[in-house]
């Protein structure tokens, strides 16, 4: 009796499952989708997520809802883990940010593994930058190097956490210039910016998009961007290379889901994300909020991250950033 009931219920479940796939995709999403951001509201990733979400909603159609949820802390790990821990049903996606997403598992035991993520699409490629308070004497990277050499261990650099792109940029800077700086981690770029405006830290290491957005009407001076060439929206900010320091480092911000999405749901989601990112209205909004876009599909994005992962593992051997 028991055995028969069990087999019956298995059969019933199988029938339901088969029947379920068809309508489930047609109906997806039939409840709000959570989009996890591993950083505080008001930061660059948060703005990327919030500005893109309405367009993904539109391309998903059927009154789809996306709720952006901020889970800040530990350099983004708390937010990443929220995505990897979620069921792969298409109702939890999240932004993953390089290098943190790749570097944190290299430096310590984490609550997520990179393999647990299905990388859906990249949206933003935001190069790092150094900013200082406009009242200060420092106007160029050379000024900063000279000051740091004269005053070792006094130049405080605010970053978005241990192992963040900002932190790694600072370490590479130290190595190339032979200076000693003081690392001050913050839970997000917005908090670091506040400390910089209050002159509690000397240098804010944040992405160029964040720096340009924060310096609207504020006494901030951005003295260098870590890209191959100047950014069209910040033509006055010279690159690090122009100033004799060959540092290029940026933060890729893309969307990932827990691995194992039902294929039909995955296809629908990826298409909606890419269509949203290529929508001219979103692109205009992105320019207005200083987001340097670099749209990559899933295969390209996965390949770029694989390459970067190898590079960071090499770097770890020579410059372990968390020791």
């Amino acid at each position: 009796m028991l055995a028969r009931m069990t087999s019956l219920s298995i059969l019933a479940a199988a029938v339901l499952a088969v029947a379920g796939t068809g309508p489930a995709v047609a109906e997806y999403p039939d409840k709000p989708i959570t989009m996890v951001v591993g950083y505080a509201a008001g930061g660059g990733t948060d703005i990327s997520a919030r500005s893109l979400a309405p367009y993904i909603e539109r391309y998903l159609g059927g009154g789809a809802r996306i709720l952006v949820e901020n889970r800040p802390g530990a350099g983004g790990e708390i937010g990443f883990a929220a995505v990897s821990d979620a069921a792969p049903d298409g109702y939890t996606i999240g932004f993953v940010n390089t290098p943190n997403f790749l570097t944190i598992p290299i430096e310590r035991k984490t609550r997520y593994k990179v393999e647990q993520f299905d990388l859906l699409a990249n949206i933003v490629d935001d190069p790092g930058a150094f900013s200082v308070h406009a009242d200060g004497p420092i106007k160029t990277l050379a000024d900063l190097v000279a000051y740091a050499k004269a005053n070792p261990n006094t130049v405080s650099v605010g970053t978005t956490g241990v192992g963040s792109d900002d932190h790694i940029a600072m370490l590479i800077f130290q190595k190339q210039t032979g200076t000693k700086l003081v690392h001050v981690p913050f839970p997000g770029a917005a908090a670091g910016r506040t400390a910089l405006l209050g002159k509690h830290i000397m240098v804010g290491c944040m992405n160029i998009g964040e720096a340009m957005q924060y310096s609207q009407g504020q006494p901030l001076r951005t003295i260098g961007v870590m890209a191959d060439k100047r950014w069209s929206l910040a033509p006055d900010v010279p690159t690090f290379a122009e100033q004799g320091l060959p540092i290029t480092l940026s933060s890729l911000r893309g969307i990932a889901a827990p691995v194992g999405l039902p294929p039909a749901i995955r296809a629908k989601l990826v298409k909606a994300i890419l269509d949203a990112a290529r929508d001219p209205a979103f692109q205009a909004a992105a320019a207005q909020t200083f987001q340097p876009l670099r749209i990559l599909d899933s295969a390209e994005y996965t390949a770029v991250l694989k390459q970067m992962d190898g590079d960071f593992r090499e770097l770890w051997k020579t410059t372990p950033w968390s020791r």
Binding site: R65, N70, R111, S156, A285
Partner: protein, 499 residues
């Protein structure tokens, strides 16, 4: 003259039919979520954020702001009636507010809370209009060292809240700090005190903690004291505050407002700290401190004024510098950014209609709230007449639903039950939970800023005394401690606080 022009501009924006309607909706939704325990304003604002995308920026911000201060009103309603703080800033309102309700003065308590909040809201609006940009600079003066000193002062003054021994008060604050540090460390990513429970990796939430320690404990203690019949509030003799209540509440509300504005300008913990500080101050200046915790009107009016003033003063750094003092305002900044408005000094000059429209809408919103809430007092008070054997299961159900919906996690409900038991033990040991909650809220901020301050000073502790603001705050802490510890004062204190 300028200010008058600006206020007139704000009035024309805020009084447009659409903005008036949005302000009303915001205030109404805010009151509702404030009254329902567990459903917090942050979650509501986050859920509504996509809708605001389709509204004009001014309207969107007016509505979100309405939800924010509306929830502050609603939160004190549950604190007064059933001893459940909906928000960390309404913890203190439980102490004397609920005592007043049990004493048959629930109507009076609700009216005083509403009117003190209105007063604070109106005054703060004018302060923002006159001195907003100047005050914004204060937020920037506070670096890591200053925050550490401020939190230490706040935590030390919290021990004054206790009736019993100072040692127990300090122990509760320390316990609160420890509970606040459960979870993943922001700086290093290390997981602490999680004992292998993944549900604890993100820390303990305020809601299960507060509902367990306050709400559940209250129910258990009530049932125990009355052999299961439950406490029925004394006969309600009047709905409105008596003349002497009003006279006692007025100066307390003024002091609370001043404290609220000062602390509210600082990002992080402003309104919670303000409500605790206002309570402490009232107890210090009162000639009858023994009445505190037994239904002292000042003990309700001052923190209610302070948390509302602080909540609104938080808009100063938000609008003029783009610094969000709390999660809700960070969401509002998100809403502004989505509309292509970068919060900062440019807003006030470039979009004066947005800045002043929002300021004036707060004034209108506060009036709407009082108009909305005063007629409801009769209804709320009737709630207390519901037989306790019907009321307490209802409260329990609401606590469970509220806690569950936070993260859709039964673990949180179990945590709330656990804290209910812990709270009962605390009550038997005569340990007050209010200082614990302040430690819980401020602990993580204290630690983060302590680490940062020491990084910046390269481990030199002198930074806390050599920086003027930080040194001044620490000096005030020492003076407070000496006052409490001095033998003569101590005798006075035990007389005062032992009842």
């Amino acid at each position: 003259m300028d200010i008058l022009d600006n206020l007139v501009l704000g009035l024309t924006v805020a009084l447009s039919l659409q903005n008036l309607a949005l302000c009303f909706i915001g205030a109404l939704v805010g009151t509702l979520i404030g009254v329902l325990p567990g459903l917090g304003p942050t979650a509501t604002v986050a859920m509504l954020l996509p809708i605001t995308f389709y509204l004009p920026p001014v309207g969107a911000l007016i509505m979100l702001a309405g939800i924010f201060y509306g929830s502050q009103y609603g939160g004190s309603t549950t604190a007064i009636l059933v001893n459940i703080p909906g928000e960390s800033s309404s913890v203190v309102s439980c102490l004397d507010g609920h005592a007043m309700a049990m004493d048959g003065r629930a109507g009076s308590a609700l009216a005083i809370a509403a009117l003190a909040s209105l007063f604070a809201g109106v005054v703060t609006t004018f302060v923002i209009a006159i001195a907003g940009p100047a005050l914004a600079g204060v937020a920037l003066m506070f670096g890591p060292a200053e925050y550490v000193a401020l939190m230490v002062l706040g935590l030390v003054s919290a021990t004054v809240l206790t009736h019993g021994s100072l040692t127990k008060g300090i122990a509760m604050v320390v316990l609160g700090i420890l509970l606040g540090n459960v979870g993943t460390d922001v700086n290093s990513g290390q997981i602490r005190y999680a004992f292998g429970f993944p549900q604890l990796y993100d820390g303990i939430d305020f809601v299960p903690l507060a509902m367990g320690l306050f709400g559940l404990t209250e129910i258990v203690a009530n049932l125990e004291q009355t052999q299961g019949r439950g406490v029925i509030a004394s006969v309600i003799n009047r709905l409105w505050p008596s003349r002497e209540d009003a006279r006692a509440a007025a100066p307390a509300a003024v002091r609370g407002t001043v404290l609220g504005i000062l602390l509210g300008v600082l990002p992080g913990g402003g309104s919670t700290l303000a409500s605790f500080a206002a309570y402490t101050l009232e107890k210090r200046v009162s000639s009858t401190p023994e009445k505190f915790g037994r239904g002292a009107v000042q003990g309700l009016a001052a923190p209610e004024a302070a948390n509302n003033a602080a909540a609104q003063a938080g808009f100063i750094p938000m609008l003029s510098l783009g610094i969000p003092p709390n999660a809700i305002m960070a969401l509002m900044i998100g809403a502004m950014t989505l509309h292509g408005i970068q919060p900062g000094p440019l807003v006030m000059t470039g979009q004066p209609e947005l800045f002043w429209g929002m300021i004036v809408s707060m004034l209108i919103g506060n009036i709407i709230l009082v108009v909305l809430n005063l007629p409801l007092i009769g209804l709320w008070v009737r709630l207390l007449k519901v037989p306790y054997d019907l009321l307490f299961p209802a409260i329990l159900v609401f606590c469970c639903i509220g806690t569950y919906t936070l993260r859709s996690s039964t673990f949180d409900v179990a945590m709330m039950a656990l804290f209910g038991v812990v709270g009962y033990v605390f009550r038997k040991l005569e340990c007050e939970p209010a200082p614990l909650l302040l430690g819980f809220v401020l602990g993580p901020m204290l630690e983060e800023n302590l680490q940062r301050a020491l990084l910046l000073s390269q481990g030199d502790l002198a930074v806390f005394v050599t920086r003027p603001i930080s040194g001044g705050l620490l000096a005030a802490t020492v003076i407070l401690l000496v006052l409490v510890l001095l033998p003569t004062v101590k005798r006075g204190r035990s007389e005062a606080f032992r009842e």
